[in-house]
């Protein structure tokens, strides 16, 4: 036996077979597979997902109701994510990780704000709340057909005092308008012990601003271009932080001092671009 057999090397790509594919919206799918390690990651952690012959992408690890299983919920976008989106049941992908830190889950009144596939870590966070916590989940989407995980969230929260609020930009479902306007309203109206957000950067930026300016503990899970996922390549830097290694989760104190958060990110060549 070699030393690396003593325990699974989290940096080694493990091949798993996709066992089930669920369409969430016309552009979002969830791909389920069996893997003990991934089934037990902490809320907020991600994996590097290899689509053989296509690319390797960072993906938040989605929950599965079955023990020993996990999933990825992917929105079809460019070549890479479309490659993953098109993986069929029975096909193989490679995974390494989990990487990244986890949400620091407070007790009491919790506000979760997720947009698009940013809902993935929110779903896992919901599996970690205490039964006594009062949980409000805001789901942001462009339009009715882009809404997903609403019923899953209600189900996960069925034993908690809770509210799941959906907002669509076009008002085709739930409340009309930006989710961040509701955040601003809620933090003004009620007391929260913790605010958690993942989704489009502008959404996270405003959410962090609203909460942090009121002194509320808030954490956001950042997305940046990731090549290695392990703190070697530097492509995921935001200010002096490496998102893959120092994050992906940062709190309001830290983020309010970061000049790049909310404004700029780096492209594949490492050039700073505006959001």
């Amino acid at each position: 036996m070699r030393w690396w057999d003593l325990q699974r090397n989290f940096n080694h790509t493990t091949i798993v077979t996709i066992e089930k594919v669920v369409d969430e919206t016309p552009t979002v799918r969830t791909l389920y597979f069996s893997d003990d390690v991934m089934s037990n990651v902490l809320p907020g952690q991600f994996a590097m997902v290899w689509i053989p012959g296509v690319n390797e992408l960072p993906m938040s690890v989605m929950i599965s109701k079955e023990t020993g299983k996990a999933a990825f919920t992917v929105r079809k976008h460019g070549l890479a994510s479309t490659g993953l989106f098109n993986i069929k049941s029975g096909e193989k992908i490679g995974i390494r990780g989990p990487y990244g830190n986890a949400f620091d889950i407070k007790e009491g009144n919790l506000l979760l704000v997720g947009g698009g596939t940013g809902l993935v870590p929110m779903m896992r966070l919901l599996t970690h709340v205490k039964p006594t916590d009062n949980v409000t989940l805001l789901i942001g989407a462009k339009s009715q057909e882009e809404v997903f995980f609403e019923s899953l969230a209600n189900e996960l929260l069925k034993n908690n005092p809770h509210k799941v609020i959906v907002c669509t930009d076009d008002g085709s479902y739930g409340e009309k308008g930006f989710v961040t306007d509701i955040v601003e309203k809620l933090v003004n109206e009620s007391h929260f012990d913790g605010v958690y957000t993942c989704g489009p950067e502008k959404m996270m930026y405003k959410t962090v601003q609203s909460a942090h300016s009121k002194g509320i503990f808030v954490q956001a899970s950042l997305e940046r271009m990731m090549k290695c996922g392990v703190g070697i390549c530097g492509s995921c830097c935001v200010g002096e932080d490496l998102v893959c290694k120092d994050g992906t989760i940062f709190d309001g104190n830290h983020l309010s001092q970061n000049k790049e958060f909310g404004f700029t990110h780096r492209n594949k060549a490492g050039i700073l671009e505006d959001y």
Partner: protein
């Protein structure tokens, strides 16, 4: 006398001997500042080209089961001009700018971009093992090496380092050509061309198929290169390849390096590796009664 970590690599003086190697985390000034505060004596930038490069698609980096890392990032970089603008505000951090190109003019143009920057040295990457037309294809062509080094030396007063690696010709010839053309120091070595195949999917893992092996596996190879260069030529050497502990650092000093670079160790031990190495070197110096790094350089050659 209290031991000091200051080292002189020819004309280059650094407060601490361990530098960040090129291509690792080397993309933003904020990160450079952080690494400098963590104990790095200097940071080498990602290798920059005239134009921005996206690099290869992922997978570009993975950890090798037997230890170490393999990468074929494909020299992705924002281009010299964008990069120079970014580091213009730099005051404190000793930055070595790594450059890659295929003709002498590429290098001259890039060096000009940095005229308003506080640059400690330029490092010419003559040895990337997995990008065609630059890197090793350049390093393996003595005439081109000569032209590039000569052009660069004529374009700047900042010290210029040539980074060599194991290519298809003898790297010691590249070293000799670079020295004859006026180079100020040598960095040895770059990653070693390598490959891995996933047995389940039966595919090469890296999107580029071939990549460069770094980290602990290449340390004994890098060490022999430093010893060979220092035994044969009188040129300041920066050792690089698999360094992850203070013992490794000392080995490279003893073999003839007056500075060291490290990259992969950050993937294994994160950035406190600089501080750990600095502390270990100081303890060793105290025990062995050295006051400067340079006293140790090349001691193993006397046997």
């Amino acid at each position: 006398m209290e031991p000091s970590l200051v080292t002189n690599i020819g004309k280059i003086q650094l407060d601490k001997p361990a530098m960040l190697a090129s291509g690792i985390l080397g993309i933003s000034l904020d990160v450079f500042n952080r690494l400098y505060r963590s104990g790095a004596g200097a940071v080498v930038t990602k290798s920059l080209s005239n134009e921005p490069w996206e690099g290869y698609p992922n997978p570009t980096i993975f950890s090798v089961d037997g230890g170490g890392w393999m990468n074929a990032v494909g020299l992705s970089n924002p281009g010299a001009s964008n990069f120079a603008k970014m580091i213009e505000p730099n005051q404190d951090v000793p930055i070595m700018v790594s450059l890659v190109g295929s003709i002498p003019e590429d290098f001259a143009t890039m060096i000009n971009e940095f005229k308003n920057c506080n640059v400690t040295a330029f490092e010419l990457n003559l040895s990337c093992p997995h990008v065609a037309k630059v890197g090793l294809e350049v390093g393996d062509d003595p005439e081109l090496v000569k032209q590039i080094v000569t052009t660069v030396k004529n374009s700047t007063n900042v010290p210029v380092i040539a980074k060599v690696g194991l290519g298809t010709t003898h790297y010691l010839n590249t070293v000799k050509t670079a020295i004859d053309s006026g180079i100020d120091a040598i960095t040895a070595i770059n990653t070693v061309r390598a490959m891995a195949i996933d047995v389940e999917t039966q595919r090469p893992i890296l999107s580029n198929k071939f990549g460069g092996l770094s980290g602990t596996p290449i340390k004994p190879i890098a060490l022999r290169c430093v010893y060979e260069i220092s035994s044969k030529y009188d040129i300041p050497i920066i050792g690089c390849g698999g360094i992850s502990t203070w013992e490794d650092a000392i080995e490279f000093f003893l073999a003839g390096a007056s500075g060291i670079q490290l990259g992969s160790a950050i993937g294994d031990n994160w950035i406190n590796v600089f501080d750990d190495i600095n502390k270990g070197i100081l303890q060793y110096m105290t025990k062995k009664n050295y006051s400067t790094i340079n006293e140790m350089v090349g001691l193993a050659k006397k046997f």
